[in-house]
Symmetry: C3
Subunit: 338 residues, 3 copies
């Protein structure tokens, strides 16, 4: 990995109180129960406190309340998990694309590139594309005409941006992401389907992250919009004219149907399906594998996923569910006999 | 966008009755409530009629029954939504690949190409590939040996067609589509898995559209088949030896297991899972997030998705479901005491 | 297809007892009810026995108990389906990439390649990559720095391996697979999200197969691990720090959340969602479209999927479910009146 830091420097970056030897060298981050010399680790919550006394880490990031029990150097902060996140980038060995445009990449006409652009091999970039300063594009990406990408945004290999897509600053698009493909629009003509050409585009804000193989369709007449700070996991499907509010997080395998608006600060669990043409207000949590059919107007936690059980027990539940109507009639009859 | 049309010409293309100024220039399509001068818009249904009187559009496509209330030029048709679809292509600014084969594309041997083929940069095309007239292949596509593609079919960037796949005319394959990957076939050998090589292929009809990152596996011994006019949204998985009947529409995130046959004119909602080795007859609608376990022999609407509710209410439902068996026993006991 | 074999040679490969003409030439495999001259077929189970008497195949692979009813050459084995799997590779016409590195492929520095490496056009291979003997990489793949791939592993077009990923021997990765993308890790900072850089990697064992567009994220601090012989279908999402035990099979569209451990010899049905931070023991089967919320400690079959029914019937079920709480109160009241 290579990178190493003095513990005092890490503590300073975190505005943390350091108790111990600030000259200690930190070479990597490790989990509390597996950390060895050279590692910094963190105590996220009391649930892991059992591992604290025996840790071999060089330093532990933790809250003041746990400091007394820590046998090694202490980096004391209010939120250890957030502090871990903040230093994680320092130890990230992920290679960067070299600044410059690789000779095998094919460029269109009339592009406008900022400083320190890095474009790897075998990319294809269309006409009138605008790339901000420090944009990093990994190998084999395809960027359509009139695309705009903000400063320091990173595209991993095999990203496709259709024509006219706009991406903000400091965004990360993982491999296989497709942005701006046609929304699923068509009109029925005596049983056959007439395609509705999708004339809108996609606008993605700053600090957005899109997971591997996630897809976002362009709008039919207006744009599909992903606001600032939205974080989307792998294999999520976002249909045309959806709007996702700022700082909402969406876990893997979610599907969101057309024209739905999701508020800010929401959290959507894995495998959730969300109906089209509805609105979900701010600060809604939907737990994994639920199906959202109607608008949600009150913040809170919503669910409809059913936990798996032994299949014979589940068959009995399904069977009893089918008898419910009859059961209600029988209770009605019992009540009338009184 | 650039394209503009006289209103009279648009009306003629639609076989519509025009009331108003046929010389008006139309430059784009916009929603009824947001349209400004230069726009044509449409009144899809009475639900949107409230926006009609105040529209700033240059023209409105609508049914005869709403014409009296329209303050601007009127394009009167039986099905305004279908009429909108029909003119949507005229205003589509999506760039086309230039005719010719880009110098960076790698061609195999013994290919057979029609007229006006357009192949963008960094594609790889195998041996004995047949491309019809007007085929358009965007950047970085990979086309295996012995693939056949019909006239005017379009592949967006990063499409993969494995060897031997056949695609009809006027089809559209969006980015990240994979057709012809191996079906998930294997035989158990004392706990370990012996791969069953997949010796069939995939045959896709005319006018088919496949959404971004959709996957269609090749058949085990015979072919997986997608009939004419089928429309498939993003991130749909179609397993080996499935057959999808003509004009069926499949929304995003659907999974269809092996050897299942789906009829014509069906509509499968988003996130639906369909079991293997079953048959679904023509004109079946499955609503979103449902699980189809058995064959469906009667046309109609089928469902099993559960709408999300506040999670405490849902926990109570789950808890009551687990008490159902006991409840039935208690009602039995009450009835016997009579 | 081209390949043809003497029946006696096929029987010998299978350690089978041959009854009939060993000189017969077999040119392909076909299903029992459609096989013609030149085909070998198989009788998988008694369910298909009705087609046996009328088969036109040149030979049938079957169990001894069915041999008497077979009108043509017989290849008698204990497990006909497994025998079919074993000979399926002989008749597979899938083209192989030519040995050598295509001139358009871009190589990094300090790589270490074994014998008979085959790399197709427009691939990009990073620094310090290690490829074992006979590795076959189809067109447009991107392989990050420090990746290690074992002998005879095959990557189909458009596979992405991020830096540091390790793949074993004899593995198959289908098109659109992404391995090593960032896990979905972030810490909340007053509503906004701070990215947790993902410092682990992914380690994939021998004989693993990954279906088209499947994604496997790299670990946060330690590695995501896929053990030997695991078979994963298309569009499966495996989050960071998951561990999948040897010989487990996972059908299409499954999502597995972070840090979950799945045992050996499990079978996970299509569309299943599995919660994070849980453990599933060995030899667990989860049926399609189920949601696994908690750890499973006992081998067996688990389920929670609901089969679709006509939508009016389903609405009644949902309506009755919402009345359950009231129904239980009514039964309580009836019992107290006794």
């Amino acid at each position: 990995m290579g990178n190493q830091y003095k513990l005092a420097d890490l503590a300073q970056k975190l505005d943390a109180r350091l108790e111990g030897d600030g000259e200690s060298l930190i070479t990597h981050i490790a989990p509390l129960d597996k950390a060895q010399a050279g590692a910094i680790t963190f105590l996220e919550s009391s649930a892991y406190k059992k591992h604290l006394a025996a840790t071999h880490a060089t330093a532990v990031i933790l809250a003041a309340e746990h400091a007394a029990e820590c046998p090694v150097n202490k980096v004391i902060v209010a939120n250890p998990y957030l502090a871990y996140a903040k230093i994680s980038s320092l130890f990230d060995p992920a290679p960067r694309v070299s600044v410059g445009i690789h000779a095998t990449t094919v460029l269109g006409r009339n592009y406008s590139f900022g400083k320190d652009i890095a474009v790897a091999a075998h990319c294809v970039i269309g006409d009138r594309v605008v790339l901000g300063n420090g944009v990093e594009i990994h190998a084999n990406c395809v960027i359509g005409d009139d695309v705009v990408i903000g400063d320091n945004t990173k595209l991993y290999p095999h990203v496709t941006l259709y024509h006219g897509v706009k991406i903000g600053k400091n965004a990360i698009l993982h491999s296989g992401v497709v942005v701006g493909s046609d929304g699923f629009g068509m009109a029925n003509d005596n049983g056959q389907w007439e395609k509705i050409h999708q004339l809108g585009s996609v606008v993605i804000g700053d600090e957005v992250e899109l997971g591997a193989n996630t897809t976002i369709d362009r709008g039919a007449l207006e744009d599909t919009i992903i606001e600032n700070g939205v974080k989307i996991d792998n294999q999520v499907q976002i249909a045309h004219n959806v709007r996702i509010g700022a700082y909402t997080a969406i876990a893997g395998c979610v599907g969101i149907a057309g024209s739905t608006k999701i508020g800010k600060y929401c959290m959507i669990g894995g495998g959730v399906g969300i109906n089209g043409h509805i609105e979900i207000t701010d600060r809604v949590i939907v737990t994994g594998m639920s199906a959202v059919g109607k608008s949600i107007t009150t913040p809170g936690i919503y669910a409809s996923g059913i936990p798996a059980m032994p299949h014979r027990a589940w068959w009995r539940v399904l069977n009893r569910m089918s008898q419910l109507e009859e059961l209600i009639r029988r209770v009605n009859a019992l009540e009338q006999k009184k």
